[in-house]
Structures are given as C-alpha cells and as structure tokens.
Amino acid sequence: MMRELLGRRNQALLHHVEVLLSTIRKSQIPNELEPYRAQVLLVCESLKASIDSNQEYLRIEQADILEDVLSNTQQITQIVRLLSSHLSIPIFRASLSDRLILAILRWLHEEHHQSRHFPPAFASGRCSIYLFGGLPVYLFPSIEQHGLLYQPLLFHEFGHLLYQIHQSEMNDLVAGLREEILDLLMPASQRNDRFAEEQTSKRQIIAETWYSWTQEIFCDAVGFKLGGTCFLYAFSSFLSTLAKGDFYRPPQDLNHSEHPVTWLRVRFLAERASEEGFEGAAETVRKEWRMIAEAMGVVEDYHGFYHESLAEVIINTVSDMLIEAAPRTPSQLEMAGGGWNPDSDSPIRLLNWAWQVHMNDSGRYPQWETEQIGTLLDYSGRNP
C-alpha cells in the first residue's frame, strides 16, 4: 500500500516539475534575468533526478526503506512548493520594468567574486532577501523599484548574502561580540537570589537578540561601504516613517527582535560615515533625526539592550566583519557623484549623483532621472 502511495506521489511530483520546467522555459523575461532562469532550471532538473532515485528505490522490494523514501518525497514536495510559491515568481511575473533593478543587481553580483555564481532576481515586497539553492531573490517595494533614489537599499540586502557566504567566520565574530556584551552587562557584584536569576536571564536575552542586531548593523555598514552617501541618504529617508517606533520600542518589542531600534542604526551608520570622512552628510542625517525626536519628545532608552559602553566593541566587530566579507570599495570619483558615464563609471557614481540632483534641484529631478535610467538600460541592453 505504502509503496503504491509513494509511487503515485512521486509520479504527481514529476508532473509538477515538468509543468514548472515547461512554463519557466516559455516565460518572456528580460535578458538580465536569463542567468537566474538557467539556475532555476538546474534546480528543477535536480528535483527530477531525485524523483527518479525515489522511483528506483521503490522498485527494490525492500520494505524497511519505505520510511526513507517517504522522507525524500516529503523533501521534494516542499521544494517543489517553494519553487512554485517563491523562486519562480521573479520569472513568471517578470516585466520590462524589472530591468533597472536587475541591471544594478547584476553589476553588484559580478563585481564580487563571492557572489558571481549566484544569479540575482527580485520580486515586489518589503525590502529583504532570501537564498535557496544558489538562488538569491531580493524583495523590493513596488514604487521604489522604478527610481534611482532607493536602489542603494539593495546593498544592505547584499550584505545578508555576504554574511551567508562567510557564515562560519561571521558567526564566530558575532559569538565573540555576544560574549563581550554578556561581560559588559555583568554587574560588578552578584547577588545570589531570584533577582540575580532574573538579571542573568535578561542578559541572556539581550545577548541572543544581538545576533540579529549585529547582522543588521553589519549589513548597514556594507551598504555604506558599497554606496557611500547615497546609501546613507536612502537609508535615512526610507526608514524614517516619522513614527515614535523609529526612536523607541518597549522592552517586550525588543526581546529577540530582528532589527535594532532604527535610531540606533542611524547613529551607527552616521558614525561610520563620519569616520570615513563624510562628516557633512553624517551631520545632516543626525540633525534630521534629532529634530524629529525632539518634536516627539522622545527620550533615548533601549532598556538595557544598548548602552554607550557597548558602542566600541560593536563598531570594532562590524569592522572585522567587513574585512572578512570584503565588499567592493568604491573610488573617490564614484563617491563624489556629480556626473556619470556608463562606459567608464559604475552605477555607484550615478546613484550618488541622483541624491545630489534630488537634494539640490528636486523640481528637475524626475525628468533627469528618466533620462539617466534610459541611458543605464541602453548600456545594459548593449552589454548582456
């Protein structure tokens, strides 16, 4: 009975994979998405091979391996569903307007030897990234997809990919930081009662929370390292929702949260910008956030999750993580913006120029942006 059931399930899975393969092959997509399509097809082919193996195992009259074939079938089912619900979406929903993000992502991935073998794709959604089977899918909000100003936010997501590629070394660095945070939060004298136990448990939660927080601050630093001030402005502008939650969150919201309080991220980012010699931009951003905080009457309080005594060790750890991940360092010309030639300049110079034009002459910006995007896409089309 079980053998027949598994036989039918594998036959059905084979049919699903063949439908996926055929639909993916037939889909009209921009040229920039071709490497991603090729990788998805490879994943589908490997699923077909796994289904073939299952069918071969089922032909062996050996009852005790049925539990293993069942587990294999379960795994294939999950991946087929993941392909259908997530990984194939960038192909099935592809449109010509995807070309801007794809051109920038393709450039970014090509510039780093670590990411060259991960063809990127994107879909609409809250800024994030996920990676499965060598397929990185960036999610990016619908409106921001069509302009230049917020493209630098993709660099933060690229930071997550770098983290994953260097996961073992990164986890070791983060582990070191968490140990130091635990030490720094340790009181000078310790009591031996229920209160002390509660304090220990709280320190533990804080150290656990800093796993995700460190990565976010690291990814912010990657964004700045790759883009310079265009990232700082995009980040500050996009993350500022003018809500109190940007500046303050109650302790229960901080416990095991994925992201630090946004104001804290902005402070770390501005600090890094200052250190890299962009004091003017850093101060512009700091001033804006302080002004909003004052207007809302917010008092800085991280409920023990952050204290100034932690700043140095966090900054140093993130710097070590940057050395390990080695994101591309832009040239001074790229950081300076002020012009852009697609034949000789990278998109970084264009993105910095975009923020300059936007800040200095916002009335002219829409027309200017349309022209520049046209130039970028012409260039991308000529260099597939």
Binding site: I60, A207, S212
Partner: protein, 149 residues
Amino acid sequence: MRSKWLVTSNFERMHELISAVNILSIHAKLKVAGVPDPTNQSRIREAKKRLLAFLVRFQALILDTERQNNRAVIGADPQLEGLVLRYLDQKKRLSEDAQPFALSLDRLRDLISEDTLENMPELISSMREFRSLFEQHAYVDVVELIGQM
C-alpha cells in the same frame, strides 16, 4: 516575524541534512539486506561528508551549552541554537539508556566513517532519530515559507 533569509537558510540546511540522512539510511539498510544500492557512490560520500561536518560543529555547540548549564548557545545562529536546545531537551527527557540519542556523537561519527556491516543496525537507528529531530526542527520554517491553507 523572523527574517526570510534566516528561515530559508535554515530550511535549506535542514533539507541538506535530511537528504544526507536518507541516503545513508537507505545505504545501510540495503547493505544489511545484501541488496545492491543503486545510489551513486559520490552521493554517498557527499552525504557522509556533510553529516560529519555538521556533527563536528553540533558537538562543539552542545559541549559549550552544557558547560553553561544549558543557558546559551553563543556560537551559532538562532536556528542552530534552537536545534541544539531541542536535542538536549529530548536527551534529558529520557533516561540515559533509552532512545533517542542514547549513542554518543563521537560514536555516531565513527559509525558514519567506518561503514562496516556490524555497525549498520546502530547507524540505521541513529539516522532515524536524527531525521525525526531535523524534520521537527524544520517544520516551523516549512510552514512559514510554504504555509498552510
């Protein structure tokens, strides 16, 4: 809500481990039965390598955690931390000689490396336990990624 990249990363890790467990489990059962295994030898070697590498890391994390009275797993990502705590919890809930996880991880690594016929029953039983642990641990991610109706 957990980051999608953390969820997919754990999903992929669990998928790779479960696939490796299944390959070794089938291999061991067919060896005991004296039936030729149609699995490509390179896939068996790769499965062993993957599980051994995982067990080295897993064992180090377990030792660290036990040293700290099961309070924290500092050197791992949250998903792997969860797996370590789940393993320790299951181990604690049963007496030492009872399954699951009666076998030491050192012994399990030897079983995987040696590949001898007399070790196969022990290996089969351990693979079953680890598969169950991995599948339980992956389930939250599976639901988060591909959901329920």
